[in-house]
Amino acid sequence: MKRTLGVLLSLIVLFSCTNQTKQKKDEKSTELTVLTVDELQAQGKDLVGKEVLVKGTVTHVCKEAGARCFIMGSTEDVSVRIEAGRIGSFTQEQMGSDILVRGTLQEVQLDESDLAEMEKSAAAGESANKDHALGHDGPALHSVDGGNHDSINQAKKLEDMNQKLAESKEAYVPVYYIDGLELVKAKVD
């Protein structure tokens, strides 16, 4: 017993010492300008790879483990996905709340073949949501999680995306999302 307690005590001291070396709190959020989701989408091209601070209303939280959420801007059509990343996770309680998140803006470029593949999957009744470009995957879990009320229309979004691709000079449609670094405020007044 003494031996076990000795080992335990040594480990506790070791963990305590290691824990004391944790990094200072990141204060970068105070240096960034707060963007709305609309502004983020409008300036997306210039912000890819950079840290951003964005606020919006949480309209969906991944129901499996809160690994991602979607926040909306002026309308439900203007939204952005936030991967929890270093934030850890989001919770259902955040639905409908305005949050302020710091993260790195990332871009997925969907080209003609991606959209064709998505249309093919949609026609076959399979998931056609490459990189969550069409929003969340909620409908797949409706039977156990509710979500029948989701007004998201993936078929319409896919149609819009094809329209954007036809008008695009770069031959791709950019889809922006954020790799979360910090939940600055869980609720924004």
């Binding site: 480990l11 809160g66 996770s89 009320h149």
Partner: protein
Amino acid sequence: MNIRKSLRSLHRDFGYLVVGITFIYTVSGIAMNHRQDWNPHYSLITEGVTVPATDQMEYSKTEISSLLAKFTNRLVYKKHFITKDATIKIFVEEGTVIYTPLEGTAELELLKKRPFWFQINRIHLAQTDRLWIWISDAMAAFLLFVAISGLFLLKGKYGIKGRGLWLTSIGIVIPLVIIFFYLN
């Protein structure tokens, strides 16, 4: 005290120490394995009410609160907005209401935390502060020690040189088969 005896006493004591955390990880693990059949974190409560149909689409917070009062579940208003589908999406604490004025229907979905399950699943997924991560890392190390030390506790035909070797090998081969044949 020889090595085997030390190993045995540490195996015994650490074994006792990790019972609690083993319980949490295994029970929560089974619960989450079946998340396509049930939501291990939240339970779903639904309710619908009917009101006179109208083509009005703009609503004040007071008007929405009056609508929410018609549900038997007590609802706390958070926010609402008009969707493209001509419905009003209302966020309430723990859920949402979709009000369709043209049809005069309002449907509620509440996601209530499952007591016990919600907490152990959060622990399992390390959706906690840093302290728990340190504790669970330490417990994982103890669990690994208990598993490895257990291999060398018995001598003879039931030990690692006999039956123990076969059973241990089977336990290692099963996940390897899954990795090579199903996950490649």
